[in-house]
């Protein structure tokens, strides 16, 4: 069952065409803002709905009815944006708003205003029940929207009292149209019309008397019409009514209800506790069937019952009507009220309307049930954007009601990410103490939630070891009874796996991180959680960067797409994503292309960023500067990474690599003693890494001690020594080649270089060859014997300072397919065999081969052989492919 949407229902309920008011409203459209401010029952909603129908504005009207006691700015804006999208047209310039954990009202407003500005046709935004909007942030944001509204946006605000939106300003300059209580009073003519339309014949003086007694109050007159319908002596009724001192609403509602058959009266009374009602729910409360028909009939009779959806499956009562019924219920059957709330809570919970269920559980003072529901669905509700609503729901909880394991586990996580670590620990303790109270069917999800809280707490405390030991419950499969519960359990696990993967990533357990983040990503996608999806993708990108920069870049690009799409660019992970893209570019030799990514990454760094994130950004900048030959800046960036490492409890693998590069750069600059000093600061643990050994080797080489260099590098090349990144082996091979060359062993040097090229080929890595001062060796490397001619050529281009061709952003498409023979020839292009040599290999004439080559170049849009090879690689015509495809 779907929840009813907040749109205008199909039937205009007014019996009277209040023409003068319609004209006033239509005239008000030009000015931009209309305020309809009058007490309950003045007929505001009916008037607006009727006018919208009559004026033919329905298609372009965005109708928002503020929920009762709305404390949640995000929920308010979600409904506003959704309604505006409906009116403005989808697809259209008004972007969809997706809920986030932290609501950025300013950003939302920005996008909304620019979206509206792009509209060709005006739209009308009606906000009804504005007095229910209680969140001060939301009101401030609304005030700003009014101030910044483009001419395409017309606004009507309907409320019971004047809102604190600074409307006096607009009044002063004549931009505000007001419809107030006195304007809404029924005139004598309108009263006559109302009664006539209801089929009530009344003498003139009785009509006047009615009008006078009700003071033209719309609700009063409508109730009177209901009370008078089918009455034998209408004048007598009017006389009695006029003579009574009781308040109009109270008198007449009592009359209307009294005239209903017993079962209708019962239905109205018992369902008065609900904010909205449907047939099945009413049946449950009343303990009988047939409620739906009664509700439909009541609406048809214009008896203060309104349907909320076009299918007419959900209804609500006029607020005043419901309030008085509720009071009557309290007066006559006070003991039944908690039971009714409880039955409603259970029904809503079964149907998956969690927030309604929680509200009714609270009204029944069933704190246990309310707590269970918040605990179970808390993550899902937060991801739905209802975090502030939930916080408001938690307000009235008595202290002892918090001794609820599922609730405590959920609250613990919320406290950790604030961060409020001691409070979180306290909640975890509570959850553990009461763990046995969790029903068996929810135990697994509870364990997963608790594990997530524990592991995130440990992470924030920098205790990565403990964090990882908490992982087990997150690895269990999802199991639950209802569809709603399965979805909630998936949300819990997705959050858990994302946190786990993050911890594993930052503590160097990259393989585990990748596995768990992939799983989290899968769950996030199944549940449609872009926020979690982007988190998983971003961290996967960092994890993937250990092995394949191409894959890392692809994942980072996907994460960035989501972040940009939903306007989440101030998330803490953003600098990491941007820096990963820059780093991939740098490693693959596109140093200038990396610039905008790194600039943005640095700008996006928040002052309170986690050291690990900042470290990654500085590291990426460092390697870019290295590639550009800007050594002093590279060293400064690497020095930053060392400073940041000191702030961290866990050892960051990148810091080790950065130090190694810092040392090698110092050597290149001739600062050998500074290089030695830097390497001395490495801890024993760090010395065990290949990057540190390679750095030492570079110092040995600078001191012309080739033997020492070879000795230090041997375990790195044999794989005995662990490296942070596989690509560091390339660097080690090149250093070894230099050493061998120094020792006069040209063959060994050549073998090293060939091996280095082989390692670099799959991911098209250029930077290692720029870092190590092996240019001379590379130039001497025999082209005709290498299997990596194209790569070598590209490297030499880079070393001579020519820019690498920019990475094409779209997937390249072949205009015309290569023929079989052309593909065979293509296979030989990377080898650098000459055309006659290729011809000899494949038993064709030289001229035929040359023709094929010419066609190949044309089809690939290349002018040189190396270019053709590059393009062919991009298209996947040559393997091993340098790009991993999704």
């Amino acid at each position: 069952m779907r929840a009813p949407e907040r749109t205008a229902p199909a039937r205009p309920p007014s019996l009277v065409a209040r023409t003068a008011l319609y004209e006033l409203l239509s005239a008000g459209l030009a000015g931009g803002i209309t305020l309809v401010s009058a007490p309950a029952g003045s007929g505001k909603t009916i008037l607006l709905r009727s006018w919208i129908e009559t004026a033919g504005l329905r298609a372009r009207t965005a109708w928002v009815s503020v929920e009762r006691d709305e404390h949640d700015a995000q929920r308010f804006w979600l409904s506003v944006v959704e309604a505006l999208r409906g009116a403005a047209g989808v697809p259209g310039p008004v972007e969809k708003l997706t809920p986030t954990l932290e609501f950025d009202g300013g950003a939302v407003l920005e996008r909304l205003v620019s979206g509206l500005r792009a509209l060709e046709e005006p739209v009308l935004l009606v906000i009804d029940d504005l007095n229910q909007l209680l969140d001060p942030d939301a009101l401030a944001q609304l005030e700003e929207l009014l101030a910044r509204r483009p001419p395409q946006l017309r606004v009507i605000l309907a409320t019971r009292h004047d809102p604190p939106l600074g409307l006096h300003r607009y009044r002063l300059v004549g931009e505000l149209t007001e419809v107030r209580a006195i304007d809404l009073r029924f005139t004598l003519d309108e009263t006559r019309e109302l009664l006539a339309a209801a089929g009530i014949g009344l003498a003139d003086d009785a009509v006047a008397s009615l009008l006078s007694r009700t003071e033209g109050w719309a609700a009063g007159l409508r109730l009177a019409a209901l009370s008078l319908a089918g009455r034998a002596e209408p004048e007598r009724f009017v006389a009695e009514f006029s003579g009574s001192e009781r308040t109009v609403a109270d008198y007449l509602i009592a009359e209307v209800v009294a005239r209903q058959p017993e079962r209708v009266r019962r239905l109205l009374l018992l369902t008065s506790i609900l904010e909205r009602v449907n047939g099945a729910l009413a049946d449950r409360l009343v303990g009988a069937t047939g409620s739906e028909r009664i509700l439909l009939e009541l609406e048809d009779a214009n008896a203060f019952v309104f349907s909320l959806d076009p299918e007419r499956s959900w209804f609500r009562y006029h607020q005043l009507f419901a309030d008085l019924l509720r009071l009557e219920l309290r007066r006559t059957e006070p003991d039944s009220v908690p039971g009714l709330h409880h039955a409603a809570a259970e029904w809503f919970a079964e149907q998956g309307f969690v927030i309604d269920a929680i509200k009714h559980a609270q009204a029944a003072t069933d704190w246990r049930l309310a707590g269970d529901l918040i605990g179970q669905y808390g993550f899902s509700l937060s991801l739905d954007g209802s975090f502030a609503t939930m916080r408001a729901l938690l307000e009235p909880f008595p202290a002892d009601a918090l001794a609820n394991p599922e609730l405590a586990a959920f609250l613990a996580y919320g406290e950790v990410i604030r961060p409020s670590l001691d409070t979180a620990a306290a909640y975890i303790a509570v959850a553990e103490r009461h763990a046995s109270e969790v029903p068996a069917e929810r135990r697994r999800t509870f364990d997963a939630m608790l594990a997530t809280a524990r592991l995130t707490l440990a992470r924030w405390r920098g205790d990565y070891g403990t964090a990882l030991s908490e992982a087990q419950p997150l690895l269990e499969a999802v199991e639950a009874d209802t569809v709603g519960e399965v979805a909630a359990a998936r949300d819990v696990r997705a959050v858990g796996l994302l946190n786990l993967g993050t911890v594993e990533l930052w503590s160097g357990a990259g393989d585990d991180a990748e596995r768990h983040l992939r799983e989290g990503l899968e769950l996030a996608r199944r549940n449609g959680r872009p926020y979690l999806e982007q988190g998983c993708l971003a961290h996967l990108a960092v994890a993937a960067a250990r092995n394949s920069l191409t894959a890392a870049r692809e994942l980072a690009a996907q994460a960035l797409e989501i972040l940009e799409k939903y306007g989440w660019m101030s998330e803490p992970i953003v600098p990491v994503v941007l820096a990963t893209m820059g780093a991939a570019d740098a490693w693959q030799g596109r140093f200038d292309d990396a610039q905008p990514w790194l600039d943005r990454a640095e700008q996006a760094l928040r002052p309170d960023a986690e050291p690990a994130k900042e470290l990654l950004v500085r590291y990426a900048r460092g390697i870019q500067r290295l590639g550009q030959g800007r050594h002093a800046e590279a060293i400064a960036a690497f020095a930053e990474t060392q400073r940041l490492q000191l702030l961290m409890v866990a050892r960051d693998p990148l810091a080790i690599q950065a130090r190694g590069l810092q040392v090698q750069t110092l050597v290149r600059m001739g600062e050998v003693s500074a290089a030695r000093a830097a390497v001395e600061t490495a801890t024993d643990d760090e010395r065990r890494y290949g990057e540190t050994q390679a750095a030492l080797a570079s110092i040995h080489l600078a001191e012309r001690d080739a033997h020492a260099a070879v000795e230090v590098l041997a375990p790195v090349l044999s794989g005995t020594t662990h490296v942070v990144r596989d690509l560091s082996v390339i660097n080690a091979l090149l250093l070894d080649a230099l050493a061998r060359d120094m020792l006069g062993d040209a063959k060994a040097a050549e073998d090293d270089i060939e091996r280095a090229l082989g390692l670099a080929e799959p991911d098209a890595l250029i930077l290692p060859f720029v870092i190590t001062p092996a240019r001379d060796l590379l130039e001497r490397h025999p082209r005709h014997r290498t299997a990596h001619a194209a790569l070598l050529a590209t490297i030499l281009d880079a070393l001579s300072g020519s820019r690498l061709p920019a990475r094409s952003s779209e997937s390249p498409v072949l205009q015309e397919e290569l023929t079989e023979s052309e593909i065979r020839v293509l296979g030989y292009l990377p080898s650098n065999l000459s055309a006659p040599e290729i011809a000899a290999e494949i038993f064709l004439s030289t001229s035929t081969v040359k023709t094929h080559m010419r066609h190949i170049y044309e089809k690939l849009g290349a002018h040189r052989r190396t270019e053709a090879v590059e393009r062919a690689r991009e298209l996947g015509l040559l393997g091993p492919s340098a790009r991993t495809r999704r």
Partner: protein, 95 residues
């Protein structure tokens, strides 16, 4: 702020005679009706409580006429000498 100092006795005047049903909405106050005007009277701990009452009055579509604050010393109320339960009082009045 000293809560005691803020707690005061209030009298809130609304138009019309409030039925028992309506009075259910104001359990903390005591009602008496004079000439088509109902006075809701009682001690309220602070401004927030007062605004809560006024908000209920607005919700129920009642016409607010006047709000008076009396000193925190208990003043002799018109109800002295009669039964003290608000509901019982109104039973006497409604006829």
């Amino acid at each position: 702020m000293d809560q005691q100092a803020k707690a005061s006795r209030y009298e809130i005047y609304v138009s019309g005679r409030l039925s028992e049903r309506l009075l259910e909405a104001f359990p903390e106050l005591h009602a008496r009706c004079v000439a088509g005007v109902t006075v809701l009277a009682g001690h309220l701990p602070d401004q927030a409580a007062l605004h809560g009452v006024l908000s209920r009055i607005e919700s129920l579509g009642l016409e607010l006429l006047e709000v008076r604050r009396r000193s925190s010393r208990r003043e002799p109320s018109a109800a002295v000498g009669r039964s003290t339960s608000p509901a019982a009082e109104d039973l006497e009045r409604s006829a």
